[in-house]
Symmetry: C2
Subunit: 343 residues, 2 copies
DNA sequence: CATGGTGTCAAAACCGGTATCGGTACCAGT
DNA sequence: ACTGGTACCGATACCGGTTTTGACACCATG
């Protein structure tokens, strides 16, 4: 077994005590310039790499920010994580990421595991948690920020947007632009309650406008372009009179886009497609697919800022909601009425 | 300041010693069933959450696997990370992820920071490292696995594929399928030397087939569908006689696809598009865009297995390469000769 | 010259666990 | 009754840093 270099070794090599070496490396005061030089030189020469375990244990505070996300295949969360990472860069803090796969049990384990590293702050996804997980978060005594969703009561800080509102607004916008025969295609509703909230809001929006949802297709699995294509085919076969389809996200909408493209059905003239998230794909076909541009990167940023502020002030994070308004982009749907307008 | 519950508190509440409590919670032997029950009950009641810092420091081994990736916006690396996470799940080990943004200096910091957590193993991206970073890796005395690339000499384990070969094979395949007037579009060549390797291999493959690259367009930034569209427009304006474009990745190819779609130029009849990675988008337009399907999830899996094996055997990881062959899929290009064949 | 402040450093206590080792208590064998 | 083995438990010494405390040298001041 190899014996790693320790601070003691550095001190020995530099001819000072452990303490002085520690202070010198951390840039503490009360160390002579001469000692600093010698310690740094010694550390470099013997290839010393500090031990975060020891320093964090002794210092009672780590430089970790726990981030709990449901999934990383979904690029939405990658973007959030990126926002977090970028904002954290340079602050001396570091993100540690845990994945739950939308599994509450796994989520509990991940949160617990995070907390056992005594992080400085914690960012978790969503507002709803099982009782035991919520207990952990409440009693963590560190700043906790819940992200992505604002439809509910946060435990600590909260940054995101209302998915219900997003669905509602989109329904209203579609009806206003003249679409009346609207279908819905969604994925993973059982696991992802935010998609469910959007759908609920969408239905509420339609109802308020006195428009009925013509039909829907749902799939329990993860969303993908492929799935979007299949569901669209199925829905269209039964309801070729639709003038608009609302998808629970952009991946599915992209699948629909390809399907209608193959059929040479004009988008959005004959049928309008609307997704959610404003992914790269959407800007690849400018104006063709409507979407709600969600501020993913910004959510990551805001969450970090909330934590930084709480850490700086030393006060625990009170339940505060920060609402970031997503932006609806109907693209060409906004300007082009459906090809076969309602009588 | 709030005082966190410690093992001592649990022990006190359970009426046993700290040691017994420790053993009971970890499922060590030499503890009576009665003590186990009482300790577990006490721990639950006072809401005890272990301290990984302390246990790792005392136990001389963490349950961490460091993962160093250049970027997470790029879904390729998300997939790798997912493969790692999934394979690690249930082993008791946990991934910690660091992002370098292709910046060597930042990479050094990230690796150093990782090592300071004394992880059980380390997974890093790529084969080439600056001298100081390489030194860190060599002297880490833990299993190090380098992923994504096999064109070079690894420090420890190595899982990936040859990007040179991928480019080379694609060139050969395209020429064999009858494409002769070939252009190239790429991104971020300065930072991402794997894209550069593919390009080099591609050129070598063309040369061997006695075909000259007609033209190329490159952009220093990150790849995106938008960028692919712009570069394609630019390239096509100057060279409307191309019968094939090779893109450094699928995002760019998707941009090209949209561009030609708008122009109503037949794909792949008039111009064939080929990317790299086999992303979801490609299967969304089946057969229309060629690609090289890279085993991203598998790379993550294999890297973890290498580390697990090294940990189990206790031996340091010798420089071993594991080559995973990507799979070329030309789609319709394979069966449809270009519309205006070479005379 | 005594006094006190300042800059520099080292010894010791401590952070919250685990490894080690040496005890008890209890039972079976003789 | 004595021995030996086994199951269980706890005191103690760490792990590798940081914080605290205090000592010492040096200088300026009254």
């Amino acid at each position: 077994m190899h014996k790693r270099k320790t601070l003691q070794d550095v001190a020995l090599a530099a001819g000072v005590s452990k303490m002085t070496a520690s202070r010198a490396l951390r840039g503490d005061k009360d160390v002579s310039q001469r000692s600093i030089m010698r310690v740094q030189k010694a550390a470099r020469e013997i290839g010393y790499v500090g031990n975060h375990l020891a320093s964090s244990l002794a210092g009672k505070a780590t430089d970790l920010i726990g981030v709990v996300l449901p999934n990383l295949e979904n690029i939405v969360f990658s973007h959030v994580l990126n926002g977090i990472t970028e904002t954290l860069y340079g602050t001396g803090l570091q993100p540690v990421c845990g994945i739950t796969e939308y599994d509450p049990e796994r989520e509990y384990e991940v949160v617990r595991n995070m907390l056992s590293w005594r992080p400085t702050g914690l960012i978790v996804t969503g507002l709803e948690f099982p009782a035991d997980t919520a207990k952990l978060l409440r009693e963590a005594h560190i700043p906790v920020v819940q992200i992505m969703d604002t439809d509910g009561d946060p435990i600590g800080g909260c940054v995101g947007f209302s998915h219900h509102q997003v669905g509602f607004d989109m329904a209203q916008a579609l009806v206003q632009s003249g679409r009346k025969r609207i279908g819905y295609i969604g994925c993973g509703l059982g696991q992802d309650n935010r998609a469910q909230k959007r759908f609920d809001g969408f239905l509420a929006g339609l109802q308020q406008a006195d428009v009925r949802l013509v039909a829907q297709r749902q799939d329990p699995g993860f969303s993908s372009i492929e799935t979007g294509r299949h569901l669209t085919r199925a829905l269209w076969q039964d309801h070729p009179d639709l003038d608009c389809i609302y998808y629970s996200n952009d991946d599915l909408a992209a699948g629909g886009y390809h399907h209608f493209n193959d059929l040479q059905i004009a988008i959005p003239d004959q049928v309008g497609l609307v997704g959610c998230n404003g992914l790269d794909f959407i800007s690849g076909v400018p104006g063709r697919i409507g979407t709600t541009r969600t501020p993913r990167h910004e959510i990551g940023e805001a969450a970090v800022r909330m934590i930084l502020q709480a850490v700086a002030s030393g006060a625990p994070l009170a339940p505060i909601k920060q609402e970031l308004r997503p932006e609806i982009d109907l693209g060409l749907i906004a300007t082009q009425p459906p090809a076969t307008p309602d009588p």
